[in-house]
């Protein structure tokens, strides 16, 4: 999944306005960031890189750690446990979303699981675009009344749908 991860960050922002979107978006993409960093300078993404970034035994503890760190460092600013749980859930959502679109590692020696919707490139892209629009609608409702009317707000769905279409055209979907 690609743009769908950003959409889920938008959805989380609509429910928990205190959490910065500048934090939620990289958290939603965190396993991809880890895989990208691990593959830095190499010619291929190895199974090891994929396991360390996208397996359940990586995602679950990292999600808990991120939620805990967020709570520890931001509780002075009024952050609640529910906010921290949301940050944790956004991290976990990456694995769940990728389960639908691809196949993901589970644990050491465990099976690779997933629905591999990526084999249907355009239906998959259409599904992500629909998810973007739904989450953006929820996010837009959370904005102040005056901000909802600003045309700039359309930049978000337009750019995410555009990025998703380019991703589908390149046939190199994000894992």
């Amino acid at each position: 999944m690609y743009a769908g991860h950003a959409a889920l960050a938008l959805l989380a922002k609509s429910r928990r306005r205190r959490i910065s979107l500048a934090l939620l978006v990289p958290i939603a993409f965190a396993p991809d960031w880890i895989e990208w960093l691990l593959s830095s300078g190499s010619t291929v993404v190895t199974d090891r890189d994929r396991f360390l970034s996208h397996s359940l035994v990586s995602v679950v503890p990292c999600a808990l750690a991120v939620g805990l760190l967020y709570w520890l460092f931001r509780r002075g600013a009024g952050v609640t446990l529910a906010d921290a749980a949301t940050v944790c859930a956004v991290y976990l959502s990456h694995w769940a979303a990728d389960f639908i679109t691809g196949i993901k590692p589970t644990w050491s020696g465990g099976p690779m699981v997933g629905l591999m919707f990526y084999t249907h490139t355009w239906p998959e892209a259409l599904m992500e675009c629909a998810l973007v629009l739904l989450c953006w609608w929820a996010y837009r409702r959370s904005l102040p009344e005056a901000s909802r009317r600003r045309e700039m707000g359309w930049v978000i769905p337009a750019s995410l749908v555009g990025l998703e279409i380019v991703s589908a055209l390149l046939q190199q979907p994000m894992s």
């Binding site: 978006v25 990289p26 993409f29 991809d32 990208w36 750019s159």
Partner: protein, 40 residues
């Protein structure tokens, strides 16, 4: 041992494009949200 892609190679270029694909939604959403919530 992990093979290192030389500068300017297709593998290195692909790695850079993937990085940009991660940065783009981050920048767009964070910046637009900031502007939308700024009171005029």
């Amino acid at each position: 041992m992990m093979a290192i892609a030389p500068m300017g190679s297709p593998d290195r270029l692909r790695w850079i494009v993937l990085g940009l694909a991660l940065v783009a939604p981050w920048f767009i959403l964070a910046y637009t949200d900031r502007l939308l919530r700024r009171t005029r």
